[in-house]
Symmetry: C2
Subunit: 353 residues, 2 copies
């Protein structure tokens, strides 16, 4: 079976493009002495994680404990979880996992740190702890370098936790300076900051500029998506992730409906892109606008197209946001240069806990 | 385990509210002589479908063939698929299913009808065919009553297909008149129009007004969501579907982060609601604004709140769009009045094909 013979909609991954993306980012990190720690949230596939580690990645980043459990089950030994683990079952699951792999966790409060310490220490295990810093994104993270130093002191005194450093997401302009001050404040308390971890594909290749980062966490770089193309981060041919879809209706001369809607492509917009509308790039009909999604329908506006697809035609779509799309699919069709596909399950899909 | 003791995020369903919603809509249909054909895309759960059929529903509606296969596997015998089935494997899967259940399909083109006819007739089976009409939504559907009549004539001549009538989605103001004209045009060709099928929860209770509909397809009514509440379609207490989430960070006095992001709640907006922003209602903190989602993080703006949640606190969220949210979850916790929960898998989740 080749790409265009798959039942649709189907998620497809071009392994040649994946390899190009891995090599490019690994080379950047090697050149600048940064440890690369790819985020598995983009692919949720142990076999891609293996390609990343084999190419030189230091370890993996997971956003959820469930993702980390899958990766440890698949033999990965060095994992950072960049989400505050709190609530029913979480500390005990983390502690159990800490007996099987080298783990680190990021969090921004003493209450989370204490909950994890109790559980991990009770197992006689130990995990690294990165103080999460809000360097401008306005999500999780301590609000000042002094707050980072205070939390570092708390963590340093807790059994089962080993203060490892600081982290932020995303690493944006000014984050490096912020983290330098946090590192200084922590070191003035006599504590060591071994890791300074920054993340986010869009500004990944600026990570070396501030001189403070020791580690780069990126996810989307491995697949790419419409956002990456629109931002000029990679050419379309390096977008490894595409959805094949079938035109199921041509109700008017200007409208085509494909069998890929929000259940296939997500409703994720294009953050950070002014006037970023639409839900994906249609590779075969670049002038078609994927203007509206229902759950199973995608509305293509063909007004700007000279050639137009017929009912039954298969098209390939580069989605807005790779990570969200992967999460919707139980399996992916891997291929090289559109030759025969191999269908594999996506074991870390849907693991919200 | 009760609701607040679940690991988070977790999808929860209040069966008492489900029953109230089923009874109310079934009573409306019974009062007006409409066949109720609930759309399973909202719940994707055979056990809820069973409650709907036991309460008097005529049959089920599915959006995807995979959903229909699950429902037939669970013993349901009368299913309408309201999506044009075309592409690799689809006609043959439909034909196979037609040997096991009473099926009907909606589509808007002769090319789709012919593809299905060939496959179904080859099995010696037969399925109903509804001509899909675009009565204003601008998605799939023939564009005029005369076009509907032409497609009806084509279908009438095809083996394996039995012309059953016309359908539209959503049934909006003016749709009834449109479909009356289509019925007239088809009947003038000497063909019978047995079913006139309208769908969509928002205007469901106006379905009897035009006098043309024989069948009502609704999905969201059974669970409700934030859109239903904002539109005044149901009170908050009848929203059966909620997500329990934990506050994992309180980086500032005005901000809380919950462990429910777009992977848990979707990025679905509030269509048809002017200035509809935000991603859900936080039941315990109604003045909190769920203003931004990342994949795993939900940003709550607490500025308007007098009481504010602490790290570790569990909250319940009514999402914007029930159907999309259900699709993201492998399992749901069923309960009555927040007593003990029963966790069940969601067998028709993620079936995009």
């Amino acid at each position: 079976v080749t790409l265009y013979e798959l039942p649709t909609p189907f998620l497809t991954v071009d392994l040649d493009a994946v390899e190009r993306n891995i090599v490019r980012t690994q080379a950047y990190c090697d050149r600048h002495g940064l440890a690369l720690r790819p985020h598995v949230k983009t692919h949720k596939l142990p076999l891609i994680a293996r390609m990343q580690v084999d190419a030189g990645a230091r370890g993996l980043t997971c956003q959820k404990l469930g993702e980390a459990e899958v990766m440890v089950d698949h033999g990965f030994e060095d994992i950072l979880i960049t989400f505050p683990l709190v609530g029913t079952g979480k500390p005990n699951r983390l502690a159990e996992l800490a007996t099987r792999a080298r783990l680190a966790i990021a969090a921004d409060s003493a209450v989370v740190a204490r909950g994890l310490s109790d559980a991990v220490a009770a197992r006689g295990a130990s995990i690294g702890f990165l103080v999460e810093c809000d360097t401008g994104y306005g999500r999780t993270g301590v609000q000042s370098p002094e707050e980072a130093a205070e939390l570092a002191s708390v963590v340093d005194a807790l059994p089962g936790l080993e203060l490892a450093g600081v982290m932020t997401h995303p690493a944006i302009r000014g984050s490096g300076e912020w983290l330098s001050r946090a590192r200084g404040a922590i070191e003035r308390r006599g504590l060591r900051v071994e890791r300074v971890s920054g993340g986010g594909t869009p500004q990944a290749y600026a990570a070396h500029e501030s001189g403070v980062y020791t580690e780069l966490r990126v996810g989307t770089y491995v697949y790419g998506d419409r956002r990456c193309v629109v931002l000029g981060l990679m050419p379309l041919e390096d977008c490894a992730l595409r959805v094949v879809a079938t035109v199921v209706s041509r109700p008017t001369a200007e409208r085509a409906i494909v069998d890929a809607g929000s259940k296939t492509l997500t409703s994720d917009p294009l953050p950070g892109i002014p006037d970023g509308t639409g839900h994906g790039l249609v590779v075969e009909y670049p002038d078609a606008a994927l203007e509206r999604l229902s759950e199973e329908h995608g509305n293509l506006d063909l007004t700007a197209c000279s050639a137009r697809p017929e009912v039954g035609e298969v098209v390939t779509i580069v989605p807005n946001h790779a990570c969200g799309v992967v999460n919707l699919h139980d399996e992916a069709a891997l291929h090289r240069s559109r030759a025969e596909v191999t269908v594999v399950p996506i074991p870390a899909r849907g693991l919200v806990r």
